[in-house]
Each structure stands twice: as C-alpha cells, then as structure tokens.
Symmetry: C2
Subunit: 592 residues, 2 copies
C-alpha cells in the first residue's frame, strides 16, 4: 500500500538531494508538463515510496544496485490518466476486474460512483466497492451515491440511501465526494434531504458531483448551481458545457460506450478559445467490450485530439484539471515531486499508443499487457445472494388480465438510438381472460428481486422486433435493479427468470424453452468475477442471441436494461407498476 | 460575520430560483468571468448571506423592498483581488489598519504571514493577528510563521516558534497554511524539525508557503521541492519562476514597495505563452506610503497589464489562480454561485480604476473611500509592552572598547539599492579606551529588547553618510526585532533608545540631543494604532529627518531595519554579536 505523503517526505528529500538511491528511475524521456503545458526533452524521473522524488535532466546519481531503470528512450512521459466520473458496474466487472482491464490503457485514477450496487445493497454495497477499490494498484476513489432510489415513490430499491448515510460515508477513507446529484428538480426546489447531502459533502471538504440533465439554463439551472454541485457530465451541447464553467462548475465531457458528448462540446476550447482549466474528460459508462477492444481514458483523450484539441490540452483535461477539481493537485495529476508516480510512456502524442504504464511507482503494464495482480475482496454471501424471487414463477405470472375479446393497453415504445421511450397504445386480443401480445408488441415484466415479495408487474413493449417464442431477462435494470423480462411467451419468460435466479443474476436469452446465451453477474446481480475479455465475450454472445431472436436494434441490451429507469420519459415500468414519467405517476396497463 | 456556505445554501437556492429577494443586486454589468476567461456583457449578480446566489442576465425578480441595488451601468464586474502572500507588519499597521487601507484598492482577500509579530510574541502574537484578521469585513487568512528565529544559534527572538506550535496552529480557524519556509538549506538537508512543520501543514490539508531564495536550480532546489513547499514568491528571473511551475509549485510574482519582480518574470506568460494557471500575484511587503499613494493588489494587476499581460490573465493571477492554489476555489476567487460576494466595479480593464468594492456582499468602498468599519481587537498589555530594556542606557553603553591608539575593526558596509552588505574593515582611532567613529563610519548597536537583559552589542557601519551628532533607532529590526541604533554619537543613541522605550517601539531620529521625527509603533514595537495616512506621514517625516542628518541613500529606513537580518550576507549584527553571514558564525568587532 502507498504511504501517505507525510511519511514519504523525508525519503523523497534524500532522493531528490541525490543522497539516496531511488526505487525506480525512468530515464531519458520527454517530460510532458501539464502545469506549464510544455514538452521538455531529456528528463529523468526518480521515484521513491511510490511517488515522484524529482524530475531533472540527469538522475543517474539516484541509480543504486536495487534501483529499477526504465528506459524512456526519448518517448513522451505523460501523467497517468484520470477518469473524472464513472460507474464501474457498467463494465459488469468488480473494481478489481475493471482496474485490470483499464490499466493497460493508461488509466491510473478513477473516480467512481457505485450507484448501481447502492441500489441493490445500500451503504454496505458502497463499502464493499470502496474496499476493493482501495487495494488496487491504481488509485480508485469512490463517490458516495446520492440518489437511491432515483425516483422515490415510483420504485423500491434494495436499500434506500439516506442523508445520514451520506454524512457517515464522508468520514470514510477513499470517499472522494458525492456521486452525481441527479435529483435536480429536488435541489432546485430546495428539498432539505438533497441539500443536506450536498452540505455534508462540502462540510467534509469533499467534491459534490452534479447531474443536471436539462437544456434549461434559466432559473432552474441557477437554483441547481446554487445548491452546490461542483461539476456536471450530463451536458451534450457546447452552450451547456460553457454555461457550467461560467458558473464555476467543472464541465466533464463524456466519451463512454454509448455516450459521445466530446465532439459537440470541445469546440468551447478549440473554436471559442476558452480557458480549458475548467474542462475535464470522463467515461461515465463503459462496457467490457469497449474496454477490451477500444480502450478507456486513452480512447477519450485520443478522441479529443481527433476533434482538433491540442494534445497537451487534451492530456490536461484527463490529468491536472481533474486532480485540481477534486482537491488532489498535490497528490496526483502531474509528474512532479510528491505526486503518485503515475506515468505513461508513449511514442506519439496524437495516436497515443500506451506502451508502458507506471502506477504508484510500479510498472503495471507494458505493451498492452497487465503486469500486476489486481486483488479481489472476498465478496460476502450478502453480495452473492441478491436475486430473491420468493417463489417459483410460471407462465401465468406474466399474464395481463382483461375481460372481453379485445383490450386497449399502454405500450412502452422503444425508439432506436434514443433513451426516451414513447407512450404508445395498442388494441390487443384477449384470450382466456389475458391480453395477448401481437406482432411487434412483446410482453414486459418487472420481477421484484430484492425482498422476495414474489411481485411481478406486467405490461407491453414495442420496438425490439422479437419473433417466435423467446424471452430476455436481466437483473441489470436501472436504477433499482430488480429484474426486467421481455418476451413473446410466458413459458420462456418463466424459464429465463428461473435461470437468472440460479445464476445469482445476469442476462439470459431463451428461445423455444432453451437458453441461447447468458452472461452471469453473480455479484449484486450486476457484476462478474470473470476477467473483462470473458465478460465481453459473454455479453457479445448475448447480443448475438438477441439478434437471433429477430431483434434489429443497435443497442438492444442497453434499451432493455433502461426500461425501468423511471426518471427518463415517457413510459417505464417499476416494481410498483407502469410509470407515466411525463406526469411522474403510476398508471394502468389496460386502459379501458 | 459571514455564515459558512453550508448554512447559507438553502437561502442561496431560494434566491437563485427566483423565489426570494436578494440582499443585494448588482445590476447591468459586464461579468468578467475568470473561469472561462471571457467578458460577458449584460449580467446581474444577486447576493444573499454575503455570497453570490446567481449571476444571470436579469435578476430583477430578486429585487424586493429590502434589496440594495447597485447599478453597474455597463461597467466591468471583476472578482475582488487576492494577495497571495504578504506581511501586514510591513505596513506598520495592524490587520484592521491594513484592511482599511487596502479595501478602497479592491483587495478583498489577503494571505498574510505574521512572521514579524511571531518573532516578538511567539504563538500568542500569531493568535492576536489571526483574531483581528477574522473580524475584518474582508477575508484575511493567516499563514502560520515557520521560521522564528530564522537563524537559530545566531540570534535570539522574543519567542521561538516550534514544530509543535505549527501543528497546533493548523487546527485553528483562519489559518490557511504555513508561512514561507525560508530555511531552505535545512529543508534540503532533511532537517526533521522543518520537515515536520511542513508535514503537519499537509496533514491538516493546508498549503505550504515556500521561499527558496537561491538561483541554484540543481539538486538543492529538487530537494527543497521534494520537501513539500507548494509555492514560491522569491523568484526574480523568468527561468526561476518557470522552474517552480514546472515542478508543480505556484509561482507568486511579487510587486511590493521595494520588490519589483513581475516585469522580469511575467514574460513566461506574455512571451513564452505558458499556461498561466500556476502563476499568481502578491505584494509580500507594502509600506503604508505605498498603500496610501499607489495602491495594493490593484497596483500589481495594473503593473502586470502594463508589462503586456492580457488583462483577463492578470486578473486571473490575482483571483481564481490564487483561490485554487489555497484550495478555496469554491469559497472565493470568482463571481459565481456560492462564493463570497467580492466584486470590484471598474470602467476600464487596463487603467483599472477601482470605482466600487463589494466584499462579502457589503459595499465596502466607493470612489476610493472606505464605507465600513474595520474593527480592532483590544490589544493586550503583553502586545503593548514589548520594549523591555531592563535598564537605562547611557552614552557609555555604545562604546567599543580597545587598547592602544588605533584599532582595526570590522565594518558593515551598506550598499545602495542592495540587500546584501559588504564585510569591510577600517582602522579607527581609540580615545579613552574606546574606538571612535570616523567620517563615513557610524556606530551601530543592537539593543536587546525582549527579555530586558540590558544587553547591547556594538559595531560599526558605513554607507549612510550621516553627519554631525545624531542617531536613528528602530524596534523594527528583522527578523528578531530587537532594537537597532545607528548613530555618530553615544548621547544621541542613548536618547533615541530611551525615546523608543517610552513610545513602546517605533523609529526615532535624534540630532543634537533633540528629536527630529518619529513614528510610534506601540504594538509589538512593529505596528501602529493610527490610520495608514497618519503612519505614512510619520514614516515620511522620519525619512526626511534621516536625510536632514546627511543620509543620501534611496531607502535608508529599509537598509537600517535589515541590518540584523542574519540570513543575508555578508556582515550583520544580532543580540549575540557581530555575524559573519558568509560563514554563518559570530565574529569580533575589533580584529586585533
């Protein structure tokens, strides 16, 4: 474990003075200086106690018999990259698995909000995520989730997070601040619980993550800013990002697996020439496949450069700007004395190949290969036993009862490439007292899985294009993470549900009574024990199985897992019923 | 008193939302945005609880019957200016008097190191300075002095500051960090006491002020940086400032009464185009006359602009950059929600006339006129009784004994416009067993004044050009602040000494047995109760009296008060004897 700076200080002085050998010397590189925004050829970095002791033209006096030497050989030495805001669970990996996946991409610091686990396991889940984060070879700091449930009264989470728990977590090691305060209407309305979560964070001297997902830049925005959020990663247009920075917030431009918000906003710097110091890069959500095939923060920096950003400015947006934002400027974010020795070697500042990665003074990756162990905690039974159905479900549990021969029902209309759904209606046949799906309209069920109530809420969904007798079930079901089952047939829905109960969570695809594919997510029903490539392969197989069921959507899994996200319009489903999100109230499936 | 942000938050939200009236609205100005580095015309600022609630194009909804309205009328609204490092005592004023003098110049935040008072009164003096600072209408934060005495073993202060006291002060309200760590050789040598002062500051999450007064940028510099200093204001050349910033320190460019270090260094930004975010402006030392006649931080910003700096960058260097450096970005440094409402109105961003000043939401100055009270603490007797001679001194106390008819003595050679002195020698006549001064060579005495030991150390000094029978005495006597008396005649020296004992400290000029002028500094022998214009006038009279005694030096008072500064070569005087600073040891006046 890395010593605090105060304990390392005397040795750092000895090494910097040239009186003691270093643990590591990185020799003969071009120092990418994010403080002055310069490239300084011909520098050595001497490292002790996992921290930079000195950076100077010749550190050969620090090379003793036990000193490891890495030859930079004229390559660029850039600070390890920082992800300013993200959710580990989006990769279907635990913190250890996530770290193992991103270290070869040069990510050495992650600010992550375990909001999904918090919805399933409450504060105890946050503590476990924090515990595994703290033992990684890179710096993984935890943002305390702020909004679980995200829509109180419209859904039931596994464990609600309270303002008191937020205040408690602010005293923990490894908690860097508050996770995105998504309940922006409540903050703007002066809701005491939300304001007190923010105040507790500020009182602890920590950073309040924001989330203002609205184009309104008037009084609602002003009130949200006054509430105290320090940053926002939900902006999607240049004017929105600029508005945040003008108001003294940090703008976190986002490139995730599905979020592509850098190109439209980085023009604030590249075209308008604004001071870049208030801008950062983040990923928010990355799937395992993205990590395995495309990268992580290196992908975000590369993309920013592709969008015309000066490479040094793009690197600042993933290093020093973020460190400063979180009050960690003297701890990380640049290759300067006292900071954690987080260094990437690369031979090209535009293509940004990540040739070697040093984190906290250790060579952790070389040529894309992980060189260290990313230790796991022993996840307790409580984390592995979160799919509690209370009873076995049969085909009949997925029926929507109605009288007569036909019924008019509400249908959740999934729209290609969009998060909002449409609130549709359809007239469907009624057979034996149950509404039947039709061509293009499947059944959807929300199966309660936290308390074993045996509750099932049923409805209809269109847009996936499923054919034949099939079902897809998932315990990833934002934000309260019950189980969402979509299918054309009750038997297959029951089979897929039972399979997930057996696996302890995941995503399963069934057709004609048999499993086509699954990804097992036994930890909280959200995360896998397996390495990222295995998870990515399983997730790919699930996607292919879904396509084999006739689905033609681009991101069918993502559309599926967002169907219970009752804060995004127009029509969603929760454990409490069908939700008319536009009116923020429950509604009936059968209309008349 | 200003409420903490956490208490103001609910009302700030109400005002920002437009649901409640503001305390103050500044209407129709051009918002100088130091985050984006833009000028945004047509903005209103609504203020509540002394903080900015919102900045938006139209805050008229916030104007209620009790709301004060200030018409910006198209003028620029810039954040109140921050002095990144200074010593209040240099103005011969207490914090209240200093605040009153600088508020009309637009200074709304001061980081001050009461190092001089600490030498006289120890930690208790720091506490008193902190106490008066905390009740001012502007933000005055205290840096805990780090190095008293500055030359242990070569001088005796009133009270030495210990590492334990530094750790204790870090827990106090109003302590922003450690004052300049001047003992750079000790830090580079790994001295445990100095390192522990720094570590205690870092452990408290506060900022370590640096002071590396050497052009050496090799291993000594590297070791000093590794020790943990976060900034430096002692740089005098572009390369020195750049070296600090490259190493992750803040460079504080200094424009004081006698320091003119901006012009040579701001070229790092104006010519080399480096990222300016690591650069700040400070004054370090300003005399009362400078404050009354020339200004304070407005003078520094104006000067930076005169040196070719973009006005917005110069303003950043006196606002947001400094706030960030001290970890106070969410508290002050920009006109954005939640921050202290510190605003200057000016109609010209180059000439920078300070037309109105708002601090913590109050109109504190208008047209150069102070509009508020700057309250004083009741300075205790211990602070007003610091000139303790122990006995009455007579002419004989200022004699240097010797045998024979002539003696070779060491002479402190004062050099025009330079801080270092020269170690000279002279052969002087001996009369009645005492060495006599000669034309161009005066007597100098260091009179112990902290413990009433009655001690007097005598020597000789050249360079002032004094004529006739005269003496100048001062209890401002850096750094240990005993009393320095320079004169041609023992009787006048004794009279000046007695006068300062009577005044409780100050500077007095005597000629032919009568006082020509004095400035009374009854608080710690360093500071006056009087307003800045009176102090400036008295100091000016002292300067004129010194010239009337034949002195032709440009800065005779400054040269006088530095004669005991035993860290600057070559020859100085302390309560322990004559000091050969080049060899860091005591030496004899009479050589053979």
């Amino acid at each position: 474990m890395l010593k605090p700076w105060t304990e390392a200080q005397p040795r750092l002085v000895e090494v910097a003075a040239g009186r003691a050998p270093a643990d590591l010397v990185i020799r003969g590189g071009q120092w990418v200086n994010v403080h002055t925004r310069e490239i300084l050829p011909g520098h050595d970095i001497a490292v002790a106690c996992g921290r930079v002791a000195c950076v100077l033209p010749d550190a050969s006096a620090n090379i003793g018999p036990g000193t490891q030497v890495i030859e930079a050989a004229g390559r660029f030495m850039i600070p390890g990259l920082i992800d300013a805001h993200m959710h580990v669970e989006s990769g279907m990996l635990t913190p250890a698995g996530f770290a193992a996946a991103v270290i070869p991409h040069g990510t050495t610091t992650i600010m992550h909000d375990p909001h999904e686990v918090a919805n399933v396991m409450g504060l105890e889940g946050v503590r476990l995520m924090r515990d595994e984060s703290l033992i990684q070879p890179i710096t993984m700091l935890t943002q305390m989730p702020s909004c679980a449930p995200s829509a109180p009264g419209l859904e039931t989470t596994g464990h609600p997070i309270t303002a008191g728990e937020v205040a408690q977590a602010m005293g923990w090691d490894g908690i860097v601040g508050l996770g995105e305060m998504m309940n922006f209407p409540a903050v703007a309305a002066g809701d005491p619980a939300m304001l007190s979560e923010i105040a507790a964070t500020r009182a602890a001297g920590k950073t309040v993550g924001g989330h203002y997902a609205s184009p309104d830049l008037g009084r609602n925005f002003a009130a949200y800013v006054a509430g105290g959020a320090a940053d926002d990663h939900e902006t999607v247009a240049e004017a929105q990002a600029i508005a945040r920075v003008r108001q003294g917030m940090g703008a976190m431009l986002r490139l995730g697996s599905a979020w592509h918000d850098v190109e439209a906003q980085i023009t604030a710097i590249t075209r308008r020439g604004l001071d870049p110091s208030g801008f950062m890069l983040c990923t928010d959500d990355c799937h395992a496949g993205t990590l395995v095939h495309d990268g992580h923060m290196d992908r975000a920096v590369r993309h920013a450069i592709d969008c015309g950003c000066d490479p040094l400015v793009a690197i600042q947006m993933a290093t020093i700007n973020t460190a400063r934002h979180f009050g960690l400027e003297r701890e990380l974010g640049s290759i300067t004395p006292g900071r954690r020795a987080d260094v990437i070697l690369t031979s090209d500042l535009t293509a940004l190949p990540v040739e070697a990665v040093v984190a906290q003074g250790r060579l952790v990756a070389e040529g894309g290969r992980l060189m260290v162990d990313c230790p796991r905690i022993d996840w307790p039974d409580a984390a592995r036993d979160t799919v509690r159905l209370g009873r076995g479900l049969g085909a009949g549990d997925f029926a929507v009862p109605a009288t007569g021969g036909r019924a008019t029902v509400r249908v959740i209309g999934v729209v290609e490439n969009q998060a909002p759904t449409r609130a549709l209606t359809a007239e469907l046949p009624v057979v034996d007292g149950a509404v039947q799906p039709a061509d293009g309209i499947a059944r959807i069920a929300l199966v309660e899985r936290h308390r074993g109530t045996g509750g099932v809420v049923n409805g209809f969904v269109s847009g996936f294009g499923y054919q034949g007798r099939m079902a897809v079930a998932s315990t990833v079901a934002h934000d309260s993470h019950h189980m969402i089952v979509v299918g054309t047939c009750g038997e297959n829905m029951a089979a897929a549900t039972a399979r997930l109960a057996e696996l302890g969570g995941g995503i399963a695809v069934f057709r004609d009574g048999a499993e086509l594919a699954h990804v097992a997510l036994p930890i909280a029903g959200l995360m896998s024990d397996a390495p990222a490539p295995d998870v990515a392969a399983a997730a790919q197989a699930v996607g292919e199985a879904i396509r084999a069921c006739g689905c033609t959507m681009n991101n069918a899994v993502m559309q599926h897992v967002l169907l219970a996200l009752v804060v995004i319009p127009e029509l969603r489903i929760s454990d409490l019923g069908l939700v008319d999100v536009s009116r923020f109230q429950l509604t009936d499936v059968v209309m008349a």
